[in-house]
């Protein structure tokens, strides 16, 4: 009974609304319908400030949703990368134990592991811009003389040679740059196995000497640290050859190379401290 009454009400309301709706359609150009339209518009449409706020809110919300989606995707990528690194670390631990056992058995000298110490450049002398700089860590961080200093090169996505520690104080250290005129570094031409010497001359360039005359060294060749270096790890990138000078000596030729770090934008560096000595 109640259900039937409800259905009857539903039908009546439906008929009324339908008639009203069709009346609006038929009389859409009449002033009465325009009045109703204006009235509903006035009620439903927010004022300019509110509309502006709503649009801004929706814009922000949409941006935030996009950011959340982006972060979620980034998070997934990082998780995968993390998993891969964890796998590598696990393998490394196994290999490291095996290496320890073998080196003990064969009585071999073990390769020294290094630990990265991140430092900030705290002082530079403008008149000796290409010669040295001061970093904000020293003896307190167990740093010592002759520790190699490298810098991250964004374009190459690797650590490149910057210099070495020459003086250590309690909470600072002085680093001689490879562009310093008193600095000499054994280097080699990458993929050609030609050993030569890099000498700084107080500019953004270094001089590469003792290149055999018959070697096919040309501009664009990369300079890396040679095995003969007692400070830097072998193969660390140093710079790239810009010019080859042929006529200095009969047996050898000289070249000019540009270093991989831009001296004007050196703010941070990494010191590669041998793990046993670093506490």
């Amino acid at each position: 009974m109640r259900e039937t009454q409800k259905t009857r009400y539903g039908n009546i309301i439906f008929a009324v609304l339908l008639v009203f709706g069709f009346a609006l359609i038929i009389g859409r150009t009449s002033p009465y319908v325009s009045l109703i339209k204006d009235l509903v518009y006035y009620i439903a449409y927010p004022n300019v400030a509110s509309a502006n706020n709503i649009f801004r809110f929706t814009g922000r919300l949409a941006d935030n949703i996009k950011a959340i989606v982006f972060l979620y995707q980034e998070n997934i990528a990082y998780k995968q990368e993390n998993q891969a690194l964890e796998d590598k670390l696990r393998n490394y631990d196994v290999i490291s134990k095996e290496y320890d056992n073998l080196s003990k058995l064969l009585n071999l000298e073990k390769i020294k592991n290094t630990k990265s110490v991140f430092v900030r450049i705290s002082a530079r002398e403008p008149s000796e811009w290409y010669q040295w700089l001061i970093v904000d860590k020293g003896e307190n961080e167990a740093l010592k003389e002759d520790f190699p200093v490298v810098i991250f090169n964004k374009s190459k996505n690797t650590l490149c040679v910057l210099g070495k520690i020459i003086e250590v104080y309690k909470s600072s250290a002085k680093v001689a740059l490879i562009t310093n005129s008193s600095y000499e570094l054994p280097v080699e031409i990458k993929d050609k196995g030609i050993n030569c010497l890099a000498e700084g001359f107080n500019s953004n360039f270094i001089k590469i000497t003792y290149i055999p005359s018959e070697s096919g060294v040309k501009p664009g060749d990369e300079i890396v640290v040679s095995e003969l270096s007692s400070v830097f790890p072998k193969g660390a990138p140093v710079g790239v050859i810009k010019e080859v000078i042929e006529d200095t000596c009969v047996d050898f030729k000289t070249a000019t190379a540009e270093v991989y770090f831009e001296s004007n934008v050196v703010y941070d560096a990494v010191i590669l401290a041998p793990q046993e000595e670093y506490k």
């Binding site: 009400y9 539903g10 609304l17 009346a23 339209k37 509903v40 439903a44």
Partner: protein, 165 residues
């Protein structure tokens, strides 16, 4: 009173979703008709009376903001609300295929009714428009695809409201 507040909030939320979020969610001008999904949902859960009134108010609001014939959406949403309200005993709204099929049928009814009214109207400034186009087909399909999502959210909201009460 509580019922009126819930309807009012749904009205505000779905108006904002339909009228303000369109530019962010539309792909090639295709954007689901969230209001139609809500009307169908209310029809299946609340019955005829409230659904046709809500449908009429939604249609009237949309008519005010659009440049189409004034009153056309009010009529069509009322019609859809009435039809789904009448059928609420015949369908199990919790089943996903049923949700998709009902929304698809309701949307087809809506678009055919819309086109029919335009067709019978005398040609002029509000003359017939080609409504049954490829874009309309995509709109109908996208609405049907989105229906389960909106149904799910509305179900959760209803559960939440009941738990609070």
């Amino acid at each position: 009173m509580k019922k009126i507040i819930v309807y009012f909030l749904l009205y505000i939320i779905f108006c904002m979703l339909q009228f303000f979020f369109g530019k962010y969610l539309s792909v090639g001008g295709v954007f689901p008709n969230f209001i139609l999904i809500l009307v169908v949902y209310l029809g299946l859960t609340r019955g005829v009376v409230s659904t046709e009134i809500i449908g009429f108010l939604f249609g009237l609001t949309w008519d005010v903001f659009s440049t189409d014939v004034f009153g056309i959406r009010a009529v069509m949403f009322t019609f859809v609300g009435f039809l789904t309200g009448m059928m609420n005993k015949n369908f199990d709204k919790d089943r996903l295929p049923a949700q998709v099929v009902i929304v698809l049928l309701a949307n087809l009814t809506y678009w055919f009714g819309f086109s029919f009214i335009y067709w019978v109207l005398p040609a002029g400034e509000n003359g017939p428009s080609p409504f049954i186009t490829a874009q309309a087909v995509f709109k109908i399909l996208s609405t049907a695809v989105f229906a389960p999502v909106v149904f799910f959210i509305l179900d959760r909201l209803e559960l939440f409201a009941r738990r609070d009460a």
